[in-house]
Point group: C2
Chain length 460, copies 2
């Protein structure tokens, strides 16, 4: 032990790197080819893997073939297959060849970009590509640490991570003003109810501080009115954050850009290319109007990180835009996705999914047993089996969703809006084609028919 010459194992020689990596490329390509053969949602019981794998790490090296065999036999059967074209759950997590090779370059170069980042930025804005979250709504909240009497506003449709972020910086949940939305406004936040709440809070002696608007909510794809909310935020001097995690990608298409009208009033905006813009996990873009405020809250300047560039303020030290010190070179990945696709193909990608969602929506509309619960937004369709009795309707749709998912042929998730249990069909897999939407609908109809036979007629 201890001598460099007695060991024949090399962790990173060029030949071994090439051979092993290409074997894994073939493995992954094969996985994509067969992906429709797997049950979409994981069908295993929690803990099943513990019995399949050894208790201790091996003393000697094992072959890549053995490791890949275990991935095939033990890991893959335990997964939910997010890349399946039959995945319609949550929001999509788009993989692409360009995103993959971008990640390979990031991982191969393996640089730690906390400082001196000379990152290409197509938009000449200061956009921070981090991996913090599927919903990075909480990022700018860091700014508000230590401010007392803080008051936060968002609709009851806002993502749960906003509240998590608020709690994290030491602000009581009771300072979070959760404003009700309803079917009448398609679950969009009403500017009037916001202004009323702010006025009431001011009268009660509180200081309004932060407003989060969402473009494309998780539950049903609702869009808050950015322009009107932004004006209120300016009037009362609130920080105005726009969470466009999901639908921000759609706004590369001119026909969706109006949803961001008023964006110039925002203090910050986040969107996730790792959801709908073909950039493999993880990549979240955070734009901040005045980066100085974020940096003042998060900067640290220990001796070991000081250098001429950092001292000169000539560079953007992204470590001061985030919690962590270490950073992966995620911008490289997004840059490659944009260049390899070009805006034309990226718009085509978005529009294809929107068109498939429209197709699904029209299929639902044609079957009188079903209803589309809120108007389709982007590529998310929210629907349910109709029933006169609200309690029975929830139960029925819960059963329908379980039956679809347990079949392994597709995977959708649910949400509850306006007190109604609804099924969400989130169209967005990179590999999706028309036939997958058609098959999904057939599957749903089939399971609905079975259910009706079991449980008796559906009220109408």
């Amino acid at each position: 032990m201890g001598s460099l010459t007695t060991n024949t194992f090399s962790s990173l020689d060029s030949d071994g790197f090439t051979t092993d990596s290409k074997m894994v490329i073939d493995f992954i390509a094969e996985y994509y080819k067969n992906i429709e053969n797997y049950p979409v949602q994981s069908q295993v019981k929690p803990g099943y893997l513990l019995t399949k794998l050894p208790d201790t790490a091996p003393y000697c090296q094992e072959s890549l073939e053995d490791v890949l065999k275990d991935v095939t036999d033990s890991i893959i059967p335990g997964l939910t297959h997010w890349q399946s074209p039959n995945f319609f759950a949550y929001f999509q997590s788009n993989a692409s060849t360009a995103g993959f090779v971008g990640e390979m370059l990031c991982t191969g170069l393996n640089v730690v970009g906390f400082q001196l980042d000379c990152i290409p930025c197509s938009y000449r804005a200061r956009i921070h590509c981090n991996g913090l979250d599927g919903k990075d709504a909480q990022a700018p909240i860091y700014i508000f640490v230590l401010r007392k009497w803080r008051w936060f506003y968002a609709s009851d449709q806002t993502h749960s991570t906003l509240l998590k972020g608020v709690k994290l910086v030491g602000i009581p949940s009771s300072n979070f003003r959760c404003l009700s939305t309803s079917f009448s406004s398609e679950f969009s936040l009403s500017p009037q109810s916001l202004e009323d709440a702010i006025e009431n809070d001011i009268k009660a002696g509180y200081v309004p501080l932060f407003l989060c608007a969402t473009v494309g909510t998780t539950a049903c794809g609702a869009v808050d009115p950015v322009m009107d909310l932004g004006k209120i935020a300016r009037k009362y001097n609130l920080w105005f954050h726009i969470d466009a995690a999901y639908a921000g990608s759609a706004c590369i298409c001119p026909e969706f850009r109006h949803y961001l009208d008023g964006i110039e009033l925002a203090d910050s905006l986040s969107m996730n290319p790792h959801k709908w813009l073909l950039t493999n996990m993880d990549c979240c873009c955070l734009w901040v109007q005045q980066p100085r405020l974020l940096i003042e809250s998060l900067s640290s300047n220990p001796e070991f990180l000081k250098n001429n560039a950092s001292e000169s303020n000539a560079v953007v030290d992204y470590k001061d835009w985030q919690i962590a010190l270490s950073r992966r070179f995620r911008a490289l990945k997004l840059w490659i996705v944009i260049r390899r696709h070009g805006i034309a193909n990226l718009m085509f990608h978005i529009r294809s999914h929107v068109n498939l969602a429209k197709r699904f929506e029209s299929l639902v509309a044609k079957d009188s047993r079903f209803e589309v619960v809120v108007p389709r937004r982007f590529s998310l369709v929210c629907f349910r089996l109709k029933h006169n009795d609200a309690c029975k309707a929830s139960e029925l749709n819960r059963k329908l969703l379980a039956a679809v998912n347990e079949s392994g042929r597709a995977f959708m998730t649910h949400s509850v809006v306006g007190g109604l249990f609804i099924i969400r069909c989130a169209v967005g897999s990179t590999l999706i084609e028309e036939r997958h939407v058609d098959d999904l609908w057939k599957l749903i109809q089939e399971k609905a028919t079975d259910l009706v036979e079991e449980t008796g007629a559906i009220g109408d």
Copy 2:
């Protein structure tokens, strides 16, 4: 536009995936082959890339060849090459073939593991693999949100991210008790000074809450006495966190494990396989004695994430162990690194670096112009050119470090301990061989000779 059949570009077809990915594999292999030809530290001026790249994203797709040409011509010359065997700065960021293919599988499968994670865990402990930070010291701090009169203790050698974490959860920096260390204790935190500080704070009416010990500090590799500090933590009921980000990897070797004696007294421990355990960025392991406390602080349970498994409490929902909701499958990467190397090769890897650091230390010791400032720990050697005048010594060593780094032939960084400016030689590149250490030393000697000629004799 809008029809699925008019577009010939496929984002993720198997053939394109294989061809493109293998081209990038060859590209990265070539990069590793030539890595010694690049200046180790980036030599470009901040902002240089802005002039090299277009202002706007392309409308049409570009070829992978064109993109890779720009990576070669524009991106790579702007990088600091962390994988260079001549990289001796900060702490290493180990790439390996196993880590790379593990990352490829993670990225290829592209699953979002926030729930229902059936992750293999070699140690049957509940270890959370996240990417939060190079130093995840702050992670368990989330637990302390909203507790008043909180008091934090750590040595003046603790990593800056601890203070960042404390600020983040809304605790004033003034509640952070930074305990002095010195040459006499090799910059290790003195249990007596800790206990004195705690006693004084209690008398003043404060409630001590959190103690962070470090095994292998960033500035000089110092090790705090885990057992003695742990006993004090128990006595006063403090949360006891061990930050073993760097040196935790070394503790896989029996001869280093004694540094963790007393670990059973810890409430949490973090270490970074992405530093010294051949796991490409990012992978940070966080162990928590009572996960319940972390989960209670961070859990959220929105409707759209509810399912039978999450409701049954039969699974570990890792979303509740972290800030973000989304999670990459990093455990897969670490698991492959462990299996492909086996413990034998991992220990060999650590010992090789320690032996090379010993070699460097003995080279420094043989040249009377130099001194090793603190005893070498693990693979970190802290040294400097001697000078009678403290101010001139700092200036001299600053110039020496700049001369070495500007040569492009190696990259080291500095720190300041006990008021002294010291140069850090952190041995740890995956690709390092004996000759790189010898060349580094020759380079340092050569630049030192130049400096002495320029500035006159060095006092002794």
